[in-house]
Every structure is written in C-alpha cells, then in structure tokens.
C-alpha cells in the first residue's frame, strides 16, 4: 500500500522536533550555524540535513504572520530526479511505499542536472558528488513504525499513513481551515506524497513550496529520456 504524509502547517509551532528527530534517526552530524536574524537554522537543506523548518515573517492583511514550513522531499509520484538520472541503481521508487530513494550510486550522476530537475529544489550533494535527501525513514516504515519526524511531532502537524487515508485527512482539514483562512490550500496533492496544507499563498512560505514549472509536466530532456528508455534498456540487454 503506498504511503503519504499530510503536513498541516496551520498547527506547526516550529519547535523543530521533526528536524532534530530526523538527524537523530539518520545519525547525521550537526551543521555549523550562525545567527542570521531568524530562528530558522540552518539556512538551507544540505547533504546532512534532510528536513528543515523554514520560517518566514510576513505582513498579511495588516497583521504579522509567522509562517512555518517543515520542508522535506515530496516523494513525487513521478519523480523528475529519478527520470532525469535514468539509473534505477542510483535513484528508484520503492514499490511498497512509494518512497523515492537515493543510493550511494548517485555519486557520478550529474549533480546539477538532478537538483535542477527537482521542482522543489530538494536534493543536495556531498563534496564527492553523492546525493542525499529524505528517505521517508523507509527502514522504520517497513517495520511498522512512523517516520521519525512524524513520530516526534507534538502538535499533529506531521501525519503519515496510507495515501488514501492521508488525502482524506487533508481534504477534511482543508475544509475546516478554509472557514478561517479562505486562501488555504493543499499543495500539489495529486503529484506528491508529502501533501502540505498552508493557510496563505504558498509562495509566502517558501519559494519552492509548490512545484516550479510542474504544471507543464516534465522537461523536454526527461521526456526524451523516457521515450528513449526502451531503446536504452534494449541496448543494455544486448550488452
């Protein structure tokens, strides 16, 4: 059964429990950070940071709104990173959960190409060119546990479960939130496995909150690669 997240940013308090729990479970090292005039830290995702609570101060309707966006890989249903790489031994979709997984074989891929292919600007490379991002805690999920970020969330902003259940939860919650925030919306719910609910225009939360240029489908390069894929496979089979 394929899985999905539902992230309700309207109840997120930016405690960053998810961000730390993610580091903790994956044994990722801390980053050197500095005060940039925001509580958000570090500044961006990295090879060692798969989950980041982005914080933005915005004036909306004459009132200050502090917007929180717990960012992570969306685990796209049709991931452009996977299709751009075209190497299932480097980037593949786990068939049981739908998680988009990166392996050590991402080393050697064209880093720039993969990152630019991502409509959410998620993958990050190490110095040696290996790529990393959120893995949906697929080890936990396959053993009946929730992803670390969801397990630790004290407010119920992070939810995880079967895709249908999450979409139903998202739609129900959207109706409730719209009563107070008419501009509330779900972000790309049909395309991704991490469905965000925002109270305001998603662009106010983060530049890449919704897919950039996703509406037009996939890039020409990916389309060509997809069309050539049977040929490539056939050539490989010969080799």
């Amino acid at each position: 059964m394929s899985k999905s997240f539902f992230v309700d940013t309207t109840v997120c308090t930016a405690c960053r429990g998810c961000q730390v729990a993610c580091k903790q479970w994956h044994d990722l090292p801390a980053e050197t950070t500095q005060n940039r005039g925001s509580y958000q830290n570090p500044e961006d995702l990295s090879f060692d940071t798969y989950k980041l609570v982005r914080m933005k101060e915005r004036e909306i309707g004459g009132k200050l709104q502090w917007l929180f966006f717990p960012e992570q890989c969306r685990h796209c249903l049709e991931p452009p990173c996977r299709d751009t790489a075209g190497q299932p031994e480097a980037i593949y979709t786990d068939s049981a959960t739908g998680a988009v997984l990166y392996t050590a074989n991402t080393r050697g891929l064209n880093v720039k190409e993969i990152i630019e292919a991502c409509p959410y600007n998620i993958p990050r490379a190490s110095q040696d060119g290996t790529l990393a991002k959120c893995d949906m805690c697929v080890d936990r999920v396959k053993n009946g546990l929730q992803p670390a970020c969801v397990k630790t969330c004290p407010t119920g902003a992070m939810n995880f479960g079967d895709r249908e259940a999450m979409l139903a939860m998202a739609k129900k919650r959207l109706k409730e939130v719209q009563a107070k925030y008419p501009k509330a919306s779900l972000l790309d719910p049909e395309d991704v496995r991490v469905v965000y609910l925002t109270a305001f225009d998603p662009a106010l939360y983060h530049e890449f909150a919704v897919a950039s240029g996703y509406a037009s489908g996939i890039t020409r390069q990916v389309a060509l690669r997809k069309m050539a894929a049977p040929l490539t496979r056939w050539i490989r089979a010969l080799g």
């Binding site: 960053r16 049709e78 053993n143 397990k151 630790t152 997809k226 049977p230 040929l231």
Partner: protein, 191 residues
C-alpha cells in the same frame, strides 16, 4: 548504434504504447522493494523521563546489547501518558547527552582575566568553589536590613539551575542555597 528497421518499429511502437498508457512514456524503474532492518532491531529498550523541562515526557532509550552498551537511539515513548510518543527538538536530541564527542569529561577552569581554559581535577575545582563561596558569603552576609528587619541574606551570589536534576536533588539544592542565604535562586529554563 545499429538498429534494423524491424527493431526500430518495435521500439517506437513500444514507446507509442507507453505514451498511450501513461501519458508520458513507460515507467521503466524496476519494481523494487527492499526489506530493511531497523538499527534498533536487537537493541535493549529502557524507558526514561526527559530531563529538560517540567513537562516530563517519556522516552525510550535503545542501547546495544553487546559491547559497551552505547546509546543507539532515543525517541518518544508512545505508551507514556504525557507525550504519547512525541518529543520536541530538545527531547529529540537526547542522545547527544550520552553520545557526544564534544562533551567535556573533566572540569575546566579559566582564571580571572585569562583567555585560556585549563583542565583541573575535581578535588581542586570543588575545593576552590567551596573556598570562594565561603569567602563571598562571609564578606557580604547581611543579618538585618536598613529597617532593622532580620533578613539573613547575601545578594552577592546567585544560583542558576538545574533543569536536569530530579525532585530530590532539587530539594537538596534549594536547602543548601537557602542555608547560605541566597535570594537569587533561578532555574535556567526560565531565562
């Protein structure tokens, strides 16, 4: 690359069929679903209480059954009545209390006006603290205030801490500080 006409038709035919089915082309990623083992699979589970604040969240500590029994993972205890599995960012980082190469293992001392820290022994540090507390307290102790009221206090020493001590230790700390005549007794979580 040599592709015969027949093979070319096969390939383009397959592509066209794929486009018809998916709208974009074949999804050729192989069906892959790997079994994964949890890093906590064979760990010992011990329940504990988060030491940081007064909420008192429950946590499960996973430690290795073999070797030195070091901490592998700490996460919220779903059976705990208070947090039901959740932990904030401080609680989620609990593992670092035990597994942290930056943790100091010996007391450090920086002399007044010095810019260097040096390692000292516990005996030296505790004696030095006791000596200085006694000297400061004796020099600043006030038995009565300007109005002649009995106050028995010193305003030259303050106590800050500690979130990470338990109820009984809190009592001991409080009794000790009150006995010395401190009035500035604060908890660092409030600062």
């Amino acid at each position: 690359m040599n592709v015969s006409r027949r093979e070319f038709i096969q390939i383009t035919g397959a592509t066209a069929a794929g486009l018809a089915v998916s709208g974009l082309g074949f999804d050729l990623s192989p069906v892959k679903s790997r079994a994964q083992m949890l890093k906590t699979q064979y760990a010992r589970e011990t329940v504990t209480i988060c030491p940081y604040c007064a909420v008192g969240c429950g946590a499960i500590v996973h430690t290795g059954k073999r070797g030195a029994g070091r901490v592998i993972n700490i996460e919220g205890d779903p059976d705990h009545v208070i947090n039901q599995g959740a932990l904030c960012s401080k609680g989620a980082s609990l593992k670092q209390l035990a597994e942290n190469e930056k943790r100091l293992l010996e007391p450090m001392y920086r002399a007044p006006n010095s810019d260097k820290w040096r390692t000292v022994s516990w005996d030296w540090a505790l004696n030095e603290i006791a000596k200085r507390v006694k000297a400061t307290r004796d020099a600043t102790f006030t038995a009565k205030n300007a109005k002649g009221q009995v106050v028995n206090r010193t305003t030259a020493i303050a106590s800050v801490g500690s979130a990470a001590i338990d109820n009984e230790e809190c009592w001991l700390l409080q009794a000790m500080m009150r006995a010395l005549g401190l009035v500035y007794i604060e908890h660092q979580a409030r600062i």
